[in-house]
Amino acid sequence: MNTALRISHVGLRGIVGQGLTATHVMEFAAAFGTFLEPGRPVILGRDPRLSGNMIREGVVASLLACGHDVIDLGIVSTPVVQHAIQRLDAAGGIAISASHNTIDWNALRFFGPSGIYLNTAEAGELLDIYHLHRFRFEEWNKLGQLTVSPNAIDAYLDGLARVFDLERLRPLRVVVDCCNGTSALILRRMNERFGCGFILINERVDGRTVAHTPNTTASIAELQLGPLMQPLQADAGFLFDMDADRVALADELGRGVSEEAVLPMLADHLLPRSPGKLIIANLSSTALLEDVAARHGGRVLRVPVGRQAAIDALSTYRPEQIALAGEGTGAVMMPQFRFVYDGIASMLALLTMIRDRGQTVSQILAGYPRHHILKAEVPLTSPNIPALLMELQELFPDGVLDRTDGLRVAWPDRWFHVRVSQTEPIIRVIAEQRDSEPRELFETLLDRVRSWN
């Protein structure tokens, strides 16, 4: 099956040249230009992928043709685009980035006013306009103007410096794997402007080569950062994806920390200041969240997997009701620095936590109950997934059932989640248990799923 092009509520993404073409880009940007209210500018930014040069031109052309002024920030992270939308009171924005996908991919991500991802209703409208192919192109004397704004990273850093005490973080020794992405530009500038001492690896930004898959997992963090931690006597190591919206970390001993741990650690850090507030997480994220929430009197709201469900949940609560939101991939949104997935802000919050507690990363993690998570992917071959889920449901009648996204069954010390991926033709099977691996449960599930057809 060809998965090189996906057009969905999340936007447009694919392998450039083999699926994702200039025509898709121009039509999708024209649909967005038609969708947005006229009058205010549209913000544009891109990650360093070379294909971003081509996509940028197409997006600019379509937005200008729809009568929108465009402010191009150049090569910046996705959170910088979102920050600029709010700062410049723009109608919305587009980030050209395939984030954690491999270098041959690219994508368009769409934001509304104040830099928030489109919710499902808005994204549906955008898709309808795209499929209808009826774009609102303006006449020759009502076209938009392009301006280039090279200082967006500085303005974003000003915003970060208002939330985080950067001075206080300076004594920490921090190694960062930039994965040849936009975090390199941001952290270099932080070193220059604020005297931070971030030690950067994989920091060459040429859009052609990446040192490794730009995904934020514990294993990559351990492989890339692990060998450096003790020789450099580093306190923490961080790993970003291409557009710096996700983060993973390594502890001071050089061990990769599970990507599942980022959200609970931040919850542990933030909940004491926001007692009783909500943590929005998806059904596949670790149960450590509930443990942490219980310590601070917080509450966990589980939503279906995928950015869209989190965005929709965020839009149904008032901001002051929410402590933070995120997923087990290292993508976290915090209210103190706007509700956007922002890896840099997550890193600064974690460093603040380390300073506040006077503990090392491994000491902080040692303070939590140990949860063991097992994950597998099974190729999707059967069309009859509902019957599979029903069979599994009947097999485990004693657990707490959640059918909002596939099947999740939870017991006090363990849970499992079986669902079909939104982005690939696979079934994801996840099981987690406190104190020991849920090997038996996991194997039972895998057997059933694999033999189903």
């Binding site: 083999q18 031109e57 197409g58 052309a61 043709a65 041959d104 690219n106 774009f135 192109f137 052609r208």
Partner: protein, 453 residues
């Protein structure tokens, strides 16, 4: 059938249409991608005139070219001939000028050039059009996507230097001519002021030379659209007035009395000047005055006739290694010693040089040309009637010599008539020429009666 303007035309001469719903950014990008596929990966030069849709269309074309794996050199706002010379100079794969030439401001178009900076010949044009319709474009992946480079200085200097090689610039400078200029706020505005004022040191009186403003008059430079220039000549006592079109390829000339010359006479003066200095024959289209035949005969040179259209003239000029060529009524001359393209700068320089060489005024120079009377008009026709009309016209003049290369041309000793259908509207264009005004009027009336009865 009702007469209507063609709002979009995709054909062998490229894409031309009205901005808004017709010439869309997506269409511009697709055509550019077809072009990039045809010329192959490598450098492609682009530039534009001053239309408000120019920036939007530039980004669209950039997108299509980058998607085809080409590297783009963007020259910004420059005359079409300047862009053409640069293409050959930097050994690019080809070039695209974004200009609808003399069409109204709501139009724009892609003019396409091969690696020599020449219009595509008919074979190249057909092949490109097929490629566009087949939509099987080169789709570059991330590794093969290049960038857009800017070069704003090389091309104008190159163009001016080329022109100066073929005139006696010192002779022109010594005369300190008083020159009036109407730049129609077009692509040549700044370059013309520099060329006439600084390079040729004329006493320049310029109007409409602000490229940020819209066209202040009908864009095509003709006697009836250049009343302001004529007034400027009279008010300032200028020796000569020059009127350009938006992309600086066509030129109309006003004599020292404020009388705007027939464009055929401008070509004739250039032919006279060229044949005196350059070996070779002359190529003009079927509608160009017989004055050219008389001048060529004086120098023992041949005249080749082609269908109407710059590309046709250029193609023939290349084949016969012509000394000079052009299209009389549409204004502008093609002097291959400079470059095989229509060029208002070469025309200005040749005329000023002829004035300096002979010491004659413009009106005196025109008076020295063989005299013919010319008339032209447009006749609407019903679709499906064209063949019958042409046939009946041919039958009613059995004594004439006929040429059916482009519509119908009927020739007698000392007079001719030419009827051809417009490329863009259901209109017949009728042109006649004879030795006297009475003869011309009689022939015109007779043809008009046959075509409208």
């Amino acid at each position: 059938m009702a007469r209507r303007e063609h709002l979009l035309k995709v054909g062998v001469s490229g894409v031309r249409g009205v901005i808004g719903g017709f010439l869309t950014p997506g269409l511009g990008a697709s055509f550019a991608q077809a072009f990039g596929t045809y010329v192959g990966k490598g450098r492609v030069v682009i530039g534009r005139d001053t239309r408000t849709s120019g920036p939007m269309l530039t980004h669209a074309v950039n997108c299509g070219l980058l998607a085809a794996g080409c590297e783009v050199i963007d020259l910004g706002v420059l005359p079409t001939p300047t862009i053409q010379m640069y293409v050959a100079h930097v050994k690019a794969r080809g070039g695209i000028a974004l200009t609808a030439s003399h069409n109204p401001p709501e139009y724009n178009a892609l003019k396409l050039f091969n690696r020599e900076g020449l219009f595509f010949n008919q074979y190249e044009r057909n092949e490109l059009l097929d490629l566009f319709h087949q939509s099987q474009f080169t789709q570059a992946g991330n590794d093969d996507i290049r960038t857009v480079q800017q070069d704003r200085t090389t091309a104008p200097a190159l163009h001016i230097e080329r022109v100066l090689r073929h005139v006696d610039a010192d002779r022109i400078r010594r005369r300190r001519f008083r020159v009036a200029l109407d730049g129609v706020n077009g692509a040549g505005s700044e370059m013309s002021v520099h060329f006439l004022g600084s390079v040729l040191q004329t006493q320049l009186e310029a109007i409409s030379v602000d490229p940020s403003q819209v066209f202040p008059r009908i864009a095509e430079p003709r006697p009836d659209t250049l009343t302001e220039l004529a007034a400027l000549v009279r008010r300032t006592g200028a020796d000569v007035g020059f009127g350009q079109d938006p992309d600086g390829d066509r030129l109309a000339v006003c004599d020292e009395n404020g009388h705007v010359l027939d464009n055929d006479d401008v070509l004739a003066l250039a032919v006279q000047r060229a044949l005196a200095h350059t070996p070779g024959d002359v190529v003009v289209n079927l509608t160009t005055s017989a004055t050219i035949d008389d001048l060529a005969a004086r120098h023992g040179r041949k005249v080749y006739r082609t269908p109407v259209g710059e590309a046709n003239v250029v193609e023939m000029m290349q084949a016969v290694k012509a000394a000079i060529g052009g299209e009389g009524s549409s204004g502008g001359i093609i002097y291959p010693a400079v470059h095989l393209c229509r060029d208002s700068y070469t025309a200005m320089a040749l005329l000023l040089d002829l004035m300096a060489e002979t010491g004659q005024t413009v009106s005196e120079l025109v008076a020295g040309l063989p005299r013919y009377a010319r008339l032209s008009g447009k006749v609407p026709f019903e679709h499906g009637r064209l063949g019958t009309l042409m046939q009946s016209l041919e039958e009613s003049f059995p004594d004439a010599q006929t040429n059916r290369m482009d519509g119908l041309k009927l020739l007698w000793e000392g007079r001719w008539l030419h009827v051809r259908s417009s490329n863009t509207e259901p209109l017949l264009r009728l042109a006649v020429e004879a030795r006297t005004a009475e003869q011309a009027q009689a022939l015109f009336d007779e043809a008009w009666r046959r075509l409208t009865s």
